[in-house]
Symmetry: D3
Subunit: 218 residues, 6 copies
Amino acid sequence: MIAHLVETSPVETEKAANDGGVVGAVLDGRDTQEAILAGMNPQTPSSPGDGAAPRDSQGNHWNAAYAIASGNLLADMRFNVTGESQGRLQDARLYQLTQDSGVRDMFSFLLARDTIHQNQWLAAVEDLKADGLEDTLVPSNFPQEREMSEIAYRFMNFSEGEDSAQARWVSGPSMDGKGEFEYVSEPQAMGPQMEVLDPPVEPRLYSTPKQPMQPSYS
Amino acid sequence: MIAHLVETSPVETEKAANDGGVVGAVLDGRDTQEAILAGMNPQTPSSPGDGAAPRDSQGNHWNAAYAIASGNLLADMRFNVTGESQGRLQDARLYQLTQDSGVRDMFSFLLARDTIHQNQWLAAVEDLKADGLEDTLVPSNFPQEREMSEIAYRFMNFSEGEDSAQARWVSGPSMDGKGEFEYVSEPQAMGPQMEVLDPPVEPRLYSTPKQPMQPSYS
Amino acid sequence: MIAHLVETSPVETEKAANDGGVVGAVLDGRDTQEAILAGMNPQTPSSPGDGAAPRDSQGNHWNAAYAIASGNLLADMRFNVTGESQGRLQDARLYQLTQDSGVRDMFSFLLARDTIHQNQWLAAVEDLKADGLEDTLVPSNFPQEREMSEIAYRFMNFSEGEDSAQARWVSGPSMDGKGEFEYVSEPQAMGPQMEVLDPPVEPRLYSTPKQPMQPSYS
Amino acid sequence: MIAHLVETSPVETEKAANDGGVVGAVLDGRDTQEAILAGMNPQTPSSPGDGAAPRDSQGNHWNAAYAIASGNLLADMRFNVTGESQGRLQDARLYQLTQDSGVRDMFSFLLARDTIHQNQWLAAVEDLKADGLEDTLVPSNFPQEREMSEIAYRFMNFSEGEDSAQARWVSGPSMDGKGEFEYVSEPQAMGPQMEVLDPPVEPRLYSTPKQPMQPSYS
Amino acid sequence: MIAHLVETSPVETEKAANDGGVVGAVLDGRDTQEAILAGMNPQTPSSPGDGAAPRDSQGNHWNAAYAIASGNLLADMRFNVTGESQGRLQDARLYQLTQDSGVRDMFSFLLARDTIHQNQWLAAVEDLKADGLEDTLVPSNFPQEREMSEIAYRFMNFSEGEDSAQARWVSGPSMDGKGEFEYVSEPQAMGPQMEVLDPPVEPRLYSTPKQPMQPSYS
Amino acid sequence: MIAHLVETSPVETEKAANDGGVVGAVLDGRDTQEAILAGMNPQTPSSPGDGAAPRDSQGNHWNAAYAIASGNLLADMRFNVTGESQGRLQDARLYQLTQDSGVRDMFSFLLARDTIHQNQWLAAVEDLKADGLEDTLVPSNFPQEREMSEIAYRFMNFSEGEDSAQARWVSGPSMDGKGEFEYVSEPQAMGPQMEVLDPPVEPRLYSTPKQPMQPSYS
């Protein structure tokens, strides 16, 4: 039972906080309830001491799994365009989540920065192409005859119905200018018929066999 | 001391494996050394029982932190273009890391699939624009006058030297057609002078103060 | 100081939200305070744009570390029984955490689905045994004489007192029908006396030695 | 270019290691190549100083996301049965991955311990039922009439073909003794027809709309 | 739209909870709003069933990445001093975040325990030195002539201005008694001029080249 | 069966690599086996394209959970001392793991940098004390009478035997100069006897009860 946690009634807590609790001090005399209603992260005053911590709003620590530098500049700059796109979208949504003019001023600045950032990376992508260093596809200089070219522009319809047949991306010239989108209404399996769909189970791995088997020794 | 681990000489281990060790069985009679030289993940036979496991080649489990669906289709399809770009790049590199014709066949197929996937998402991006649903910037219908427009196309040079002044993304029309890139050689701080750079330390948070202070009660 | 965050009084915030803030819009005119009191995750409107995100209620991303497919069907189906058990338990608790009839309807459906799911996996476990593919123990066909059978049914009491001596799992036939539970009141160490409890420290690993030592070269 | 990394030829490295490198010292004079062939984790001598570290064989740190104590003993003991099942399976596989008699002795001990552990938790599960504290389903005392009982034993076939119709878990008495498995060959959608499949997009969230829309202010 | 979530008005919810909702039961008849205002984690009643779960207050699972045992006792005991320091700091801050006398009693106990813990590890550090097992530096017996001693006590000023020149840690005897801190106002690059700053790009890795290049075969 | 993976014999693979495989190219004509023997991470050529990636040697991504800035400088600088101590220890161990003179040169530099870093943070700790901003304990100005002072220097012996009685940290003056270490051979429980060790189970949480109970409604 955790009833003890609210033994002090909200009213008493409020009074006590106003009497000098640190939440009240940090929040100009306001009380714990108002802190919660203002959405204050309870770790802010405790863990980093009223400072910032490198976490998202759900407490997930920043991590470098998102730091991708492949060395192919077209791939990496497309990632930058994407990052700035998702970022400016969040700016716009957060702008709308508040009516506080100071916070809105900050987002007004951030929206403008993300405007130029999106524009810049898009310009850099065009620049790479203008210089002949990359083309539409990443990577641009993998020898085309080494890929299975007969399926490189083929849309295989695995949905019910034929709605997809109307889309821009199933007919007409491909965006890289090297092919023509092709629509296959009922795709067939391409590989050879597997002769051994169920290979015998290696008894010393103890996966469940198809038929009862004796213990195996080695 | 872990010398015990190699107490059995490599030669003996090889012989033993050929006598029936499970590595030998899985690998057609080859021995542990050959398994290591072939780059076999030692967890493959043990944990998933010679099956696949949802991890990358370094053992990091797949996780949904990468699954981003913002609802803004331009932002999300740009992410798809990016994903397919990074993916086809890895296909091409892995193709080159092996001479095995079977594995190369598989990558030949995957390269072709990523060719159409990149093309498709690029086509979808164009389609969104053609339909007037999105424009160059994400998001496209945030009211422009609510962002701090005077800096929305301004490049601020924080590098040493003026090399950046030559780039495509600091002059000429912006990619969204709504501005002109602008280059600022020596950017100045924009905000007002902060009057209180060092606010007094709240004594009940126990961060280190500027001056010695007495214990604080509440 | 973060007092600024609540500079706008709750009352003003409420009014503003009703005047058109996006929280108000999403929540039918209600205000931020009501959103917090309804337990709305603040990331819901911002990050996935009022959609769903693959996270738990504490913001932990779904990850594949939990996806276990060992290939031994008895082990894996026992995991399924467990998963459905924990799942139906949460359904029942969440049902009780709300009085909302719509949400309760959904849990009523989910409870019933988890009823058949638990039943099905339990049936599948019995089926595996009926077919002679697995027995009580996982794995069932590891050669019994290769395990240290003299301790395979022996309970070693490391608790204070002898309360454990009364339990079902320290006497009587074992569940696999192959042994008899055995109770050892005061277990003794089984291994040989280690002659070298404290091996000499390798000086070039720089762990702290037992006695002062000179720098070591190589 | 990382060619530098192998500038010293393997032969020279071996000699040098035998001349006193710490790998040689830890491994009784053997060299780096033999360490790699023996599968030694390179972090073992460096990070924990030839000690153990709480990681799996792929370097994933142990974490408490797996520690589940729900308070419902039937759910939790079923998890224990599962854990011991997966554990003994890994013991058996690792036993087969080596021919080293010392390591096999250790696994012989561990296999026996996991034999009694599986047996014990299975006994505890039976004990809970014998005492009337839990029944077959978790949780056992949720009021049955509050779940949507008409679907609680109904198998809905979403696979191609009717193979599932033969299974033990689609007909006959359910394992909890409270129902009869039921097979539905072609399940129909149960809910009412949603009138509004595509709710209008809230313009201030900037998700892509169905039709072009003007900027929205608030 | 998630307006449905607050369809039941707060007032009705409160009444319903008092009529017997489990939150009300756990919290002595109080309602959901009071639970939120008291900062109750909503997973507490559901996931661990009113028990404890090994997570931080933001839902991050405990993990063993923090468990560091290097084998060098000076390094490890310094970590213990650090851990107890951060711990007692959090105790003090959490003490101030509440006015509840029972919770304050608990922190009063924890603060005292952390007082002796900090003192103990500091004593142990001194003890290691008194016994001659470690000195000021970790590790203490790495041969000093093998490190690049000319820079071992040299402070290189990479900040604007010369404020750092006044600090205790740029002049005077070093803490290990083996050197004299040295201040370098304008540090120069130490290494040789790299002759090849831009090595040619390996074409089969498909990183973006400096100049357009043809597809490469192998 | 993954035997296919080694279908190409090691000898053939080597030859093929020398014929132009990308591993051979990156490694100056050497082959895959030599790459493995040199300990090359297989992701190096593929994922970051022969560049660096922010991961540890086991593939764990860097993450900000380790970034701790509490605002209490004594706590934070102690952490820095610890970090530099663990870091220099790893430098020394890695120095010993190789005989390559270029890599040793780099570690010779890093060891010297960590020498001054340890010295600097130790100097900074002393400086904080000299300025009267912090004392021995973190935090230094929490009011001492608010902690349970009677146990603040008391060592409670929970080990078998009395070996601990000889240690420096159980007698004599404490390191903060404010107390005397105290040794308690057989510590007694301090709190009052709990009257209700087993509170009744809330039936709507469905944890297993002590006695069979009926379904509960609300």
